[in-house]
Amino acid sequence: MEMSKVNADNRAVIEDLSISFPRPGDEDLLVVEAVSFTVGVGEFVAVVGPSGCGKSTILRVLSGLLSANGGTVLIDGQEVSQTPDHVGFMFQKDALLPWATIDENITIGAELGGVPLEDRPALVASLIDMLGLAGFEKAYPKNLSGGMRQRVSLGRLLAYQPTLMLMDEPFGALDYQTKIRMGRELLRIWEAERRSIIFVTHDIEEAIRLADRIVVFSARPARVAAEYIVNLSRPRNLSEMRGNAEFNRLTHAIWSDLSMPT
C-alpha cells in the first residue's frame, strides 16, 4: 500500500511474482519465477520472450484471471484480487463471440467500458473504419479471415477504453502494412489519452518501434533477462530507424538476450 505511494507514477507493479501450474502425476510446472517489473502511468512497455516462457500467464495474473503462487501484483496501488477496473486484456486468441456480428462484438467493449449509449454507434463505426473492416459490420466471426478477427478483437479492446491495456501479440496475424497502420493508430490513442500499455510481441522491431521500455524474458521459467529503455524520439519511422545506431544496438542486444541458452 505504502509502496504505491512511493511510486505514485506506477500504474502496475509486479514484485517477485512466481507462478506454477499443477501437473497430474508430476511436480508442478514452474512457469514464472521471481519476476519484477513496473509499468508507469502513460508508459508503453513491450514484452518479448521465447514461446511458452510465460508471457500470457503473467498477463492473466495482471488481469486477475489467474492467481499467482507468490509475489505481489499491484494495479494503481491496489492488490489485484479480481479484475481491476479500467484494465483491458486483448487475448492471444481472438475470443470473439461467434454468435455476435462484428458490430456487436466491438459494441460489447463499449458497453462494458461504460461508453454512454448514444456515443456507442459512432465509436464503433469509427473503430471499424480505422480497423479496415468497413463492409463487414454485419458479418459473423466465422466469415472473417484470421487477421480480420484479430483486428475485431483489437477494436473491442479499444472500445473498452482501458487505462491499462494488456495486449498479447495483438498484431501477430497481420501483414506488415496493416501492422504498421495499426501500430500508428495505437500510438495515437496512447499518446492522446496517456494510457499504459503492456504489449507482448515476437517482433523485436515492432517492440522498438512502439515501446518506451522493453522487458525481455528468459525461457521458461520466465525471469527478467534484461530491460531496455528505448531512447528513440517519436514519431519513429521504421525505414529511418534501420540506419540508426541506437536501433541497431537495441535489436542486437535483445537478439542476443533471446539467443542465450537456458
Partner: protein, 268 residues
C-alpha cells in the same frame, strides 16, 4: 491451359441454408414417407393382423371426421395441448435458470445432484395420490405432471450446456468485469441455445406424456381421458385416433422448434 469458366463441383465447406426449392422437396419426401406408412398400416390391418390390435387408417380418418363435426376433437385436444404447453413452458422457465445456477454453483450442484436425479426417476403415475392432494384434479395437476416430466430435461441439459461454454469467452467477460447478468445474456445463453433447443425437442414429447398421464388420474376430458375411455371399451380405433392426434401435435410443435432454430442459430 484453357481457362474453364464452369464451376468445378466440389464438396462445399459448410452446408448452405436450404432455399425454397429444397424445402418443398423436403415436404414432398415427407409426404411420400407419410403415405407409405399409412398404406403399410392399412395393408397390415387388411391382410396380416386383426384390426382389433391396430385399427386402420381409414377408420381413424372417419373417426377423426366425426369427432371434428361433433366438437369432441377440439374439446379433448385443446385441453391437452394447453396442459402440455403450460407444463413445457413452466419447465423451461424453471429448469433452465436452475440448470445455469447449478452449473455456476458447483458445491450446491454436487450436493443436490443425487436428490434431483432421484426425484427424476420416480414414476409419476405412482405419485398420483400426492398430485391430487397437492394440486387437486383440475388443470393445475396436469400442468404440474407435465412440468415434472420436462423440468429435469431443461435442468440437466442447460447445466451440461453451461459446462461446455468456451472458457476463453468466460475469461473475456471476466477480464472486462461484466456483471453476471450481462455475462449470461452475451455468453451463457447464446452458448447454451443448442442445448435449450434440444431440451425443447425432448420436452415436447415428455410434456405430452405428462399431460396424458395427468389425465389418467383425474379428468373428464382431454386426449388422455379419451384414450383411456376408448381403451376401457376395447375401442381400438378410438385409442389410435387419440394417439394420432397426439402425434400430430408433437409434429407441429417440433416444426415450430425447427423454425425457431433456423432463426436463432443463423450464426452457426
Amino acid at each position: 491451359m484453357a481457362s474453364v469458366d464452369k464451376v468445378t463441383p466440389m464438396p462445399p465447406g459448410r452446408v448452405r441454408l436450404g432455399s425454397i426449392m429444397p424445402l418443398s422437396s423436403v415436404a414432398a419426401r415427407r409426404l411420400i414417407l407419410f403415405f407409405a406408412l399409412v398404406a403399410a398400416w392399412e395393408f397390415t390391418a387388411e391382410f396380416l393382423v386383426n384390426e382389433f390390435w391396430s385399427s386402420r387408417p381409414s377408420e381413424i380418418v372417419m373417426r377423426l371426421f366425426s369427432m371434428l363435426v361433433d366438437g369432441t376433437l377440439w374439446r379433448h385436444t385443446s385441453i391437452t395441448v394447453l396442459e402440455a404447453f403450460a407444463g413445457l413452458l413452466l419447465g423451461a422457465v424453471v429448469g433452465t435458470p436452475l440448470g445455469i445456477w447449478l452449473a455456476n454453483a458447483p458445491k450446491a450442484s454436487e450436493t443436490a445432484d443425487p436428490f434431483i436425479m432421484g426425484l427424476y426417476g420416480l414414476p409419476r403415475v405412482a405419485l398420483a395420490p400426492l398430485f391430487i392432494l397437492w394440486f387437486g384434479i383440475g388443470l393445475l395437476s396436469k400442468i404440474m405432471m407435465s412440468f415434472t416430466m420436462v423440468v429435469f430435461v431443461f435442468l440437466l441439459n442447460s447445466r451440461e450446456g453451461v459446462r461446455t461454454v468456451d472458457p476463453d469467452l468466460v475469461d473475456l467477460m471476466r477480464s472486462m468485469r461484466a456483471k453476471s447478468l450481462y455475462r449470461a445474456r452475451k455468453v451463457l445463453i447464446p452458448a447454451i441455445v443448442p442445448w435449450i433447443l434440444a431440451s425443447f425437442r425432448l420436452g415436447i414429447g415428455l410434456s405430452l406424456i405428462g399431460a396424458v398421464v395427468g389425465e389418467l388420474v383425474g379428468s373428464s376430458r382431454g386426449l388422455g381421458w379419451y384414450i383411456q375411455n376408448a381403451g376401457g371399451m376395447l375401442d381400438t380405433t378410438g385409442v389410435f385416433t387419440g394417439l394420432v392426434v397426439l402425434m400430430v401435435i408433437a409434429m407441429l410443435a417440433n416444426q415450430m422448434i425447427a423454425l425457431v432454430e433456423a432463426r436463432v442459430l443463423r450464426w452457426r
